[in-house]
């Protein structure tokens, strides 16, 4: 059912907004009986907004303004970690109150209960509702199913019926839930002078529009983010019709200009490449990081890729991935053969490869290793015509895209492993060029009214455009944005934008399927969505976004009345409009010309979207900030990432600070070494170093946009580095890769990955080895001691085996691509706290599941290009759990169904359990990490999971709240006829789909959970595989979580080279 956007939050029955851990803490930070969002809004608006706005009057006095901001706004970020603060005082109060009472005598505060006046019929308080919607991104919509508790969105999942999701969901989308409740969002409409009403804004805009009307809108410009909404495009066309001289530009800093330009070179038109990896035996990535959510169409690519990585004993087949790349990416980590190569050299490589497979191009590569690699790849491609595909990187030049297209054509891949379709954007443009035109117009004084809908161009426009200077020349500037950002502070009018969970819209997924974006909640912060803003300029002002979207689709579908209503309901229910996926286009790529790129030995710098905060839009999102970036394991910062060799040559260590100069522009950046990174190249992530953002994002990282120009948006050559003497930039890294922490690794020095290999923590084989010995993962490995070796000779009954189900999990290391989606899904599901950079530095991050990354180098030759392994580690739920016997109060005990329960309210926090956990999966609230003060977070929390207080241990419980709810559902079905007409046995079965949060969101299905007592369950089937092994089995912990060992499929020819190098 669709919410009509009219619900009143005040009416909600308060079933405890958030579950509280210890009662005593409650007394100090009482949960408001009624969720008074109005009051919150007022308070927030009053507390910061007013002062903030007053200071905007002083735009001319920039210095004073900045000081003001420092004092009033971003400095509050320090409160996050401030040792003595108001929160500290509250904690003192809670501690003293707690000390005053004895456990059971702690009297609970009186609580109010507030029923509806009229209860919605579909609402069952205590049971969640699920609504289908979609999250628009520049690369297409993410189809979603959002869990709503009492009409509060609490968890985002992928839409299982949608081909592009199949129930999976990516890292950014999982994290976007926190953005909805972000207390730092813009709260009110304002003009330079202060708070204004929507009416005033509309009035002034209409006046300005009227003035424009006279000159056909020649001074009117719209700047939006990449638009994938057909309705919006339609609306915009309508507006542009009214103002024929007006112009609409789209700009996203992470855009597809290169791909579009390449597509035009190859096909003469803009097309979208849809790779069908399920059909590909050989995949070649030319610097394409397609196994990470910042790649267009990621979910499907990852899922298709993984389906071909599951060799079984009786079917030992899998695909092969070659990666040539300019960083150590998740994709490179999964590669069977990987070649680190500077981004600027890839074009030559692509050109030579195209020549080798007969697809135009030309030239050769000079480097011996690269040449060998190229030959092998070319042969393998040619041997697998029609079953292979070449994927160009988003960062790569248009020429690489064109070369890839012509290789795919030449190799017969088109129609098989790649199809070309229309673009996801409603109006494809080369955005950089557009922005350049807009800046020129602004500078020329041609622009009198600029409406910026979303985006933050002042921060992220190419540095050489000097957007800021041009922007301030526009006489009237309005910005619609979720946060007060760099663009907002230079705009006259600021309108808070809605979050996608608050607004009506529509959007195309990468495959073209259109979803209706439906809101799950009334705008929390008076937000207005771009559709609504655009109606101001249309000929039908005042219509709501809901009407706008409905009207568009009525027109599109040529439906009306009940017929439309039925269609509409079904569409909302399904989450997408059936059969709207793009049909493949028949296009043929021109044979690409040889690359003219020259090898330039100067230092190269590669700009990439950040793995956690993307282009900077998620900078104020604590969940995403704290997710360790894949491979680097870095949190809360970006860094200049380089290879250890380059760092050594330049005399840098991790955390050294260097001034990077590129084209006369400078920025100070910390150094982070990553094995496998090509030498003489630096990778920087975009989006950090924001000057105007919320409390979370302030003072994090450095601004790489300062170096990025229009012409070199992917990479640039010619950077110079200069050491900032005596300065260290503490980098909060959650896993150190070298045995000498934070030091300089010496040549040939072993990594933790080597230790992991020797300890058989990661077990891997090549496909050849697997074929020869399918038992490689268990043979010769440390196996558990016999259960007979016990102090209790007459003890035969196992007390853990009395439950109706026995839960277990299998994690396929071959499928895991290290994308972190599981980590953040777990954070959202289990109310896991954000701790901040200082606490991460202290080693106290709270994630219940982590992705361990190991680099393995079997010999010196491997050090520069090690194999990488991802190993997600949640609680193992050991049957002989070492944590349990050491707890003095019985706060961690075993359930009869084999779960290792953690009872937060019983825990006194000795941390003994964590010490004794060989897997170190337990997390401790060293301080009060859960935010008990910010009211806006209360509705976000999962009411089925306790919010932990300080001094309490916590850990993964296999999402026991989901298990329990599934069990209750099953028990209620007891005796009723089941699917086969038999009386139901009251147990949870495979078809009940009880899933852990990590499993549900995993794009590659690497995590499988279920009842290990049911021999037909998927988890039992998978655990039966020969590759199944338990971590540290020799400790006799008998973990319920087991791993499926990695099998790689490297090309033997390249392996030989490695071997020779190793021995030579």
């Amino acid at each position: 059912m669709a919410t009509d956007g009219n619900m009143n939050m005040n009416e909600l029955v308060t079933v405890k907004p958030a579950k509280a851990a210890p009662a005593e803490v409650e007394s100090a930070a009482p949960v408001a009986p009624v969720l008074e969002l109005e009051a919150v809004r007022e308070q927030l608006a009053g507390a910061k907004g007013v002062q903030y706005w007053r200071s905007l009057e002083e735009l001319s006095n920039k210095e004073g303004f900045d000081q003001m901001l420092e004092r009033e706004f971003p400095r509050q970020a320090s409160e996050w970690l401030d040792p003595v603060s108001r929160r500290g005082f509250l904690k003192l109060m809670s501690a003293s109150l707690a000390l005053a009472g004895l456990s059971a005598c702690t009297k609970q505060p009186e609580e109010a209960i507030v029923p509806y006046v009229q209860q919605p019929e579909d609402l069952i308080p205590g049971k969640p509702l699920f609504f289908a919607t979609a999250r628009p991104t520049p690369f297409g919509a993410q189809p979603l199913l959002v869990k709503s508790q009492m009409y509060r969105p609490v968890k985002i999942e992928g839409n299982p019926d949608h081909a592009m999701s199949k129930g999976a969901c990516d890292t950014y989308t999982q994290g976007s839930l926190l953005d909805l409740y972000d207390p730092d969002r813009m709260q009110a409409i304002s003009k330079v002078g202060g708070t204004r009403t929507w009416g005033e804004f509309v009035g002034e805009m209409r006046d300005a529009a009227a003035a424009e009307k006279a000159k056909q809108g020649s001074g009117m410009r719209f700047l939006t983010e990449t638009n994938i909404s057909p309705t919006f495009a339609d609306q915009m066309q309508g507006v542009l019709k009214l103002y024929p001289q007006a112009k609409w530009y789209q700009y996203d800093p992470v855009n597809r200009d290169n791909a579009r330009a390449g597509s035009r070179m190859a096909f003469g038109q803009y097309v979208e490449a849809q790779y069908q990896l399920a059909a590909a035996d050989v995949i070649v990535s030319l610097d394409a990081d397609f196994l990470y959510p910042h790649f267009p169409g990621f979910l499907k690519l990852a899922s298709d890729f993984a389906t071909r990585r599951k060799p079984e004993e009786n079917n030992p087949e899998m695909n092969r991935l070659y990666v040539v790349e300019s960083q150590m990416s998740t994709t490179g980590s999964k590669a069977d053969n990987r070649l680190p190569m500077r981004a600027s050299d890839v074009e030559q490589f692509a050109s030579a490869l195209a020549a080798a497979v007969g697809a135009g191009g030309g030239g050769t590569v000079s480097n011996e290793a690269a040449k060998k690699f190229l030959d092998v790849v070319a042969n393998d491609l040619k041997a697998n015509r029609g079953k292979c595909v070449v994927i160009p990187g988003e960062n790569q030049s248009p020429a690489v895209h064109a070369l890839a297209a012509s290789m795919n054509s030449a190799l017969g891949a088109v129609g098989k492993t790649v199809v070309y379709t229309d673009t996801v954007e409603t109006n494809s443009t080369e955005q950089g060029a557009g922005l350049k035109e807009l800046v020129a117009d602004m500078n020329a004084g041609k622009v009198s009214l600029l409406i910026t809908l979303g985006g933050n161009p002042v921060f992220n426009a190419p540095a050489d455009l000097s957007f800021e200077a041009a922007y301030t020349k526009v006489p009237l500037r309005a910005h619609v944005s979720t946060h007060m950002d760099e663009t907002s502070r230079l705009s006259h009018w600021n309108v808070p934008s809605t979050h996608y969970l608050e607004s009506w819209s529509d959007a195309r997924a990468y495959d073209g399927t259109i979803s209706i974006v439906q809101p799950l909640i009334e705008p929390l912060y008076n937000g207005h969505n771009p559709h609504e803003v655009l109606t101001i300029f249309s000929d039908s002002p005042g219509i709501t976004p809901f009407e706008t979207v409905q009207n568009y689709w009525k027109a599109q579908r040529k439906l009306s009345g009940a017929e439309f209503e039925a269609w509409w309901k079904r569409t909302l229910h399904d989450g997408f409009i059936a059969n709207t996926a793009f049909a493949p286009k028949t296009v043929s790529a021109k044979s690409a010309a040889a690359s003219t790129a020259q090898n330039n030995p100067a230092m190269e710098i590669v700009f990439r979207p950040d793995p956690t905060i993307f282009d900077g839009r998620f900078i104020n999102n604590g969940w995403l900030q704290e997710i360790p970036k894949p491979v680097t394991k870095l949190t809360w910062d970006n860094a200049a990432i380089m290879s250890p060799v380059t760092a050594g040559k330049l005399g840098y260590e991790d955390q050294s600070v260097a001034t990077i100069t590129l084209g006369g522009r400078k920025v100070d950046a910390p150094i982070k070494m990553v094995p496998g990174h090509p030498d003489n190249s630096i990778t920087v992530y975009l989006g950090y170093g924001r000057t105007h953002t919320g409390r979370v994002g302030s003072d994090t990282g450095f601004n790489a946009y300062k170096l990025r120009t229009l012409a070199n948006s992917g990479y640039a050559v010619g950077a110079t580095l200069e050491r900032v003497a005596g300065k260290k930039w503490a980098l909060a890294v959650t896993q150190h890769h070298h045995l000498v922490e934070q030091g300089k690794p010496k040549a040939g020095q072993s990594t933790t990955g080597d230790a992991a290999a020797s300890r058989q923590i990661i077990r891997a084989a090549t496909l050849e080895e697997f074929r020869k010995n399918p038992e490689f993962a268990v043979e010769g490995a440390n196996e558990p001691v016999s259960k007979d070796i016990t102090l209790y000779p007459n003890w035969t009954e196992d007390p853990t085996k009395t439950g109706a189900h026995q839960w277990g999990m299998a994690i396929d290391m071959n499928s895991c691509i290290g994308c972190n989606a599981c980590v953040i899904a777990c954070v959202a599901e289990n109310n896991i706290a954000v701790v901040g950079k200082d606490q991460v530095l202290a080693g106290r991050e709270m994630h219940w599941i982590r992705i361990d990354t190991y680099f393995e180098s079997k010999g010196p030759a491997d050090v520069a290009n090690p194999r990488a392994y991802f190993q997600p580690v949640p609680c193992m739920q050991c049957e002989n759990a070492p944590c349990e016997p050491v707890c003095p109060v019985g706060a961690t005990v075993h359930s009869p169904e084999g779960l290792n329960d953690m009872v937060y309210n019983r825990c006194v926090g000795t941390r003994y359990c964590s010490n004794n956990c060989p897997y170190k999966v337990r997390r401790f609230n060293f301080l009060l990490y859960s935010d008990w003060d910010t009211q806006s977070y209360y509705p976000m929390r999962n009411p089925d999971v306790t919010v932990r207080s300080r001094g309490v241990m916590e850990k993964c419980t296999y999402c026991v709240q989901r298990i329990n709810s599934a069990k209750i559902d099953a028990e209620k079905r007891l005796g009723k006829p089941d699917a086969n007409g038999q009386p139901h046995d009251g147990k949870v079965h495979e078809e009940d789909h009880v899933q852990t949060a990590c499993q549900q969101t995993c794009p590659t299905g690497a995590i499988v959970f279920g009842n290990v007592w049911d021999p037909n369950s998927r988890v039992s089937q998978i655990k039966k595989q020969s590759r199944n092994y338990a971590l540290l089995a020799e400790l006799n912990t008998r973990p319920r979580t087991t791993y499926i060992a990695t099998v790689r499929n490297p090309n033997a020819e390249l392996e030989e080279t490695k071997q020779t190098e190793t021995h030579g």
Binding site: Y792, E884, H894
Partner: protein, 179 residues
């Protein structure tokens, strides 16, 4: 029992030897209700004034037995009967893990019995006692002199003769000890 306001008679000696000799003589004389006082333990006095062997060791034995049984009983009842929890794949009655607490409670029971029993058998606390009425005793009994007291409860006690008897033992002084 002679209704008398006199607790007994007290004699002071300079050395332990003198005290022990005097005690022997008094015992030989037939006195039984008497006590010797010294600033440190003198084992020879046990025999000299006929002190029976104390039952304290038995009390301590039973104290320890009780402590141990209570400790193990508590463990067994709480872990096996009252709230059986599955801990680390071990049986509910994980007896090796119960040994340390059992041991400690045994020692605790025995030790408490030893001290409380000693005090109880000695009739302490007893801040007031007739012997303290003698100033010489107050000043020297806990320091450097040795005293022998024949109590009036003794059937052979006769104020004059007992006093005389003590004086004959080369006592440094002899006093009547008022009650």
């Amino acid at each position: 029992m002679k209704p008398t306001g006199i607790y007994g008679v007290m004699a002071e000696f300079n050395t332990p030897d003198e005290l022990v000799t005097a005690a022997h003589k008094a015992y030989a004389e037939g006195y039984r209700k008497m006590d010797a006082y010294s600033p440190f333990p003198i084992e020879a006095l046990d025999e000299a004034i006929g002190i029976p062997k104390t039952i304290l060791p038995w009390l301590v034995f039973f104290g320890g037995l009780f402590g141990g049984m209570a400790g193990y009983g508590l463990e067994y009842w709480t872990q096996v009967i009252h709230f059986p929890l599955i801990i680390g794949g071990k049986p509910l009655h994980s007896w090796p893990n119960f040994i340390p607490v059992w041991f400690e409670t045994t020692v605790l029971g025995a030790s408490l019995t030893a001290v409380i029993g000693m005090l109880g058998l000695n009739g302490l606390p007893l801040p007031y006692h007739p012997v303290f009425n003698i100033d010489r005793f107050l000043d020297h009994a806990q320091k450097d002199k040795f005293f022998l007291v024949i109590e009036s409860k003794d059937p052979k006690f006769k104020l004059d003769s007992s006093k005389q008897f003590l004086s004959n033992l080369q006592a440094q002084g002899v006093w009547e000890v008022p009650n």
